[in-house]
Symmetry: C2
Subunit: 340 residues, 2 copies
DNA sequence: TTGTACGCGTTATCAT
DNA sequence: ATGATAACGCGTACAA
């Protein structure tokens, strides 16, 4: 029950239990090869001394760590924490720890995290990168670190990735709005350099074109970041339009933007969905929880995490591993924000 | 630019650069003691071979890790990710990595995470425990691991903690409602075994008593978990009451419950705040972003994380460290959900 | 069944 | 300024 800072090692345990360090190690790693009485004595000694196995030494010797890591783009966005939850479950099932690191969208911090993680020799690295095209990722993979890109696409087949079909998602959203009778729709999102945003808009345009509606009636409002605040700003711009020119519906590139828009619209006295219908993206819990429950395009978030984990573990342990790009199918969840 | 799975070590770099491993180590740790030309040669070799310093070996030798860890109670709750953000900043500033682990409220998973982290010899452990009274925490601290309890209180002074004065928070919320003229108020939260919930309600009752209002007009609705879903259920119960007996205001033990309540109330046709005023707790971003922006009791979340980090680092490096229990002061942020 | 001894990759000390 | 070498704590052949 005692034990102090100078941490106690197998050697100390061995001395206290009157056995050799080899036996202590066996108690730790192959308990069956140790006679029960000896084992008890050793375990008692470990408890008494407060022995804590040194993972640095263990993994140095063993050559591999018992941990996975996920570098998140934004821990404040429930979408990513749900993905993380899926990874967490998979890691737990595989007997591994999961370290979550948050880049907060900052490339610098992301690089630091990745560097440390690589030095830690984690078994595998899952990442939603700030910039999916960054060559840094190739360098990491080239050094042999199992790597899976989460919720982003990378051209080529340098590594595994899991993502959702954003073009389809955009299409589903706008088809739904057209079905509901809308003929003038706003697309709100940005920056357009984010592949996902571009894809969602592309799908939206495709649906619009197929319905033979005039391109000019699909109004793009570009925002700087996918946040609630930007959603509010977009709402102000929208509310400022003369009611004749104002879209009757908006498709937002994610739920945060949609929630901001919903709030601003409500504040400006626009009734949702009567005067303004809103579709979000991601279907985070807060979308369903909004005062006017939000119609949203749902992505299989936990599934994304589960599959990403499976891929990274395969790459870590299967010599015949083949990189795969998994694309999941999104699904529209219609709620009050579009259902009159 | 090459480099393969069998990871390259200082030895390989030394050979490639035609120097001794001591010199390579010096390039890594005290570059100034190495002549510029030699240094360049070594650095070139490191890059060519794709050398990645092995942190296990480094920390085994050095005896300490370059990382902090925060074991979160619920990564899906924005409150905790904000706290984590504060810790992240502090860690970054101290040149440390931060590993976020999520227990998701499960004691079992929490124990596993803590065990691994202790084995990793992280420099310090921050934790919002599932059960603040658990003796496991004492055991960890007894073994010499710097430990700080975040957002929970533990009787006694066995370790550092940072928390917010929940009694005061509850008082602020209810005083505000009384100020607004409410004379029949619901307290929604639970389970009561959570110290925070109990404290917030205690503060609420104190404010009520000081205003000399009849105790029976402070109605407690106990919920099973502090989630949006439970908030909705509470809303149903509330809406089911005859309007004479129905409270005109509700104080929810956190924002998730408040958002659920807001949604249900809206769906049931209750106007907020006219027929039902709502106060939440935590002031997460989604509280301000709600269609009817939520009045809430704000906790200094990032500050909580920053101070917790400072405490754990002090404990890790200052031999004269004294355990401290920091209590922060909450603040009421009044918004439309209570302002007629 | 238990003990001995070596090596994992790095750092730091001490020579040179 | 650079090189040789002994730890750090653990796991694992191999020997007993």
């Amino acid at each position: 029950m005692a034990g102090h800072s100078p941490s106690v090692s197998v050697k100390d345990v061995a001395a206290a239990a009157g056995v050799s360090i080899g036996t202590v190690s066996n108690v730790l790693n192959r308990p069956d090869r140790v006679a029960a009485p000896t084992r008890d004595r050793v375990e008692r000694a470990m408890a008494d001394l407060g022995f804590v196995r040194n993972e640095s030494a263990r993994s140095l010797r063993a050559g591999s760590t018992r941990a996975l890591a996920y570098v998140m783009l934004d821990a404040g966005n429930p979408f990513f924490t749900d993905v993380a939850e899926g990874i967490e479950r998979a890691a737990e099932h595989a007997g591994l720890s999961l370290f979550l690191c948050n880049s907060g969208g900052r490339a610098r911090r992301e690089a630091t995290h990745v560097e440390h993680l690589e030095q830690q020799r984690v078994q595998g690295l899952l990442i939603t990168p700030v910039d999916p095209e960054s060559r840094t990722l190739d360098a990491i993979a080239a050094r042999g670190m199992p790597l899976v890109i989460v919720d982003r696409i990378r051209k080529g087949h340098q590594f595994c990735s899991v993502a959702v079909d954003d073009v389809l998602g955009g299409r589903l959203a706008v088809e739904h709005l057209i079905d509901q009778g809308h003929r003038r729709v706003a697309l709100i999102g940005g920056p357009l350099s984010i592949g996902q945003v571009a894809d969602r808009f592309e799908g939206a345009r495709a649906a619009w074109a197929e319905a033979r509606l005039p391109p000019d009636d699909l109004v793009v409002i570009v925002v700087e970041t996918l946040t609630v605040a930007e959603g509010r700003h977009a709402g102000e711009r929208l509310a400022g339009l003369p009611s004749g020119r104002r879209p009757t519906a908006a498709f937002c590139a994610n739920d945060l933007v949609a929630l901001g828009l919903l709030q601003q619209a409500t504040a400006a006295g626009l009734r949702v969905p009567d005067q303004l219908a809103i579709v979000g993206y991601d279907d985070i819990e807060f979308a369903a929880a909004a005062a006017v429950p939000l119609t949203s395009v749902r992505q299989p978030r936990q599934e994304l995490g589960r599959v990403a984990s499976a891929l990274v573990l395969d790459e870590a342990s299967n010599p015949g591993h083949q990189h795969q790009q998994m694309i999941f199918t999104p699904e529209l969840v219609a709620r009050a924000s579009t259902l009159g």
